[in-house]
């Protein structure tokens, strides 16, 4: 049935649509630099996790089906650890992991139209040893990946990703402090999640109203859990990853003062 080129094309098209539909309601992940390294932020249901340590200076935040996320996560961890052990921690870079190992496998899996696809996206971040800016990579479900220096996002729809990137372009955090990075990430998350779930029909969704953003934030705070971790280059020892404490996350409490959430 798939021996004719256009049918194969149709199959890939169907597959893409199916995955996109499944990912639409996924909670976005946002990565931002801050004074001591890089922050990864997302929102997830209680009892679940989406932000993970991969290696000494690598972390990821994923969205999609938990089983697929787990496969990608373990692939990254296995590769990083064997490479780091047999060569050196300095040889474990995201560029190499993605370019030569993860992306080709995800692509191969996407191309196997008879088998169930990987329904997941990943935002990966790397802290470079020389103190330069952190590197952000977003891996798509088809094996394609993009690299960004200033920040990274992964969202349920490409329209929501574009809008989140625009928000980060236009509204850089007030300072380089962790608190301000966290606030910028949470605001961006609200915008991304809002347009992906409430306005999926737009190719170029308009910027949500402030009241809608605040409402989105309030809903998330009530029903879900904020999850954030940093790669902190001031941490002693090799491993730079640490999860943010409840106290650090409480910086988000005054992001939208309650009255702003009420519509007129």
């Amino acid at each position: 049935m798939y021996d004719e080129p256009h049918r194969w094309l149709q199959a890939v098209e169907n597959r893409t649509q199916y995955i996109e539909r499944r990912l639409r309601a996924a909670s976005p992940a946002i990565g931002l630099p801050y004074e001591n390294g890089a922050l990864l932020f997302t929102v997830c249901p209680h009892g679940q996790r989406k932000v993970y340590e991969v290696y000494d200076r690598l972390a990821l935040a994923a969205l999609g089906h938990p089983a697929d996320v787990e496969r990608l996560r373990m692939m990254a961890i296995n590769l990083a650890h064997t490479e780091g052990f047999t060569r050196s921690a300095d040889d474990v870079t995201l560029q190499r992991l993605l370019n030569f190992a993860i992306a080709p496998q995800v692509k191969a899996s996407f191309d196997e139209v008879f088998r169930s696809p990987i329904i997941a996206k990943m935002l990966m971040v790397e802290l470079t040893p020389n103190g330069a800016e952190p590197q952000f990579f977003t891996l798509n479900f088809d094996g394609n990946f993009t690299h960004r220096k200033r920040y990274g996002v992964a969202g349920g729809t490409s329209a929501s990703e574009e809008l989140m990137l625009k928000v980060l372009d236009d509204e850089s955090p007030e300072s380089t402090s962790l608190e301000d990075a966290l606030k910028a990430a949470a605001r961006t998350w609200c915008i991304g999640y809002y347009v992906a779930t409430k306005e999926p029909e737009y190719d170029e969704p308009p910027m949500p109203k402030d009241a809608d953003i605040a409402e989105m934030f309030r809903e998330a705070r009530e029903d879900l859990r904020f999850e954030a971790a940093v790669l902190d280059r001031t941490r002693s020892g090799r491993a730079k990853y640490r999860e943010l404490t409840t106290e650090e996350l409480s910086a988000l409490d005054d992001l939208f003062p309650d009255n702003a959430a009420h519509r007129d």
Binding site: M74, F85, V106
Partner: protein, 263 residues
Amino acid sequence: MDTMPPATDFQGDFLSLLSSRGHRLSFGGQLDSSRLAQTEATTVLAMRYKDGVLVAGDRQATAGTTIMYNRADKVIDIDDHSTLAISGSPAMAFEMARVLEYSFRYYKRSQLQELSLEGKLRTLSRLIKENVGAALQGIGAVMPIFAAYDTITDEGRIYFYDVLGAQFEMTEFAVAGSGSVWIRGTLYYENRWTKKLVEMNRREAVGLALRMLESAAYYDAATGGVKEQQEMLPTIKCVTADGIETVDSETLREIYAEVVEGA
């Protein structure tokens, strides 16, 4: 490149991951130790003191009567609360330490929880057992001391291993290496009649460790001891609830001057 692995592969076991990638830990083939002057590392000791465990080692590695290296670090940090003090063949011991370090980190990252102390000890046992073949052929034998701070029971723990991988927990102290025979009795004496080791503060414990290393070096040609003029100070680490702290050379020199030379 193989296809996407199932997520359940290896269950956090780094040794299985390594062997699945074709990595061998032990030396292969039939080995003949008589043709080789083996490099060996010499005196290490661990003792429980008031805040946790102190682990110390001299810096010298010898092969026969030749000093191969005098800056060897025989006390190696494995994770936030455990160290490995090695005696025997450095080639195998350093590799073991590296595997151990990766095993604990790999477990933690993949399984999303810290490996238990019991699990860490089993991993080390396994490594030593895999090395038995080489050890019996007279090459690459390693007798490590594993010292950790148990964050659950809130105390320092010391474990000693024999060549075959048997594990013994020591309540007060453990010694290993060619120079250790000369200080084992002294430590017993100190603990029994002078002052309980577990009641010692950090300064007292460091002082005693320096005295022990010098005593070992006095009788054992393969132990480096403390050679202050050559900047060859031993490695001393304190493993406590706060983590691992390497005693800096400034402090070592100061305590050495007062407790070892001044006394």
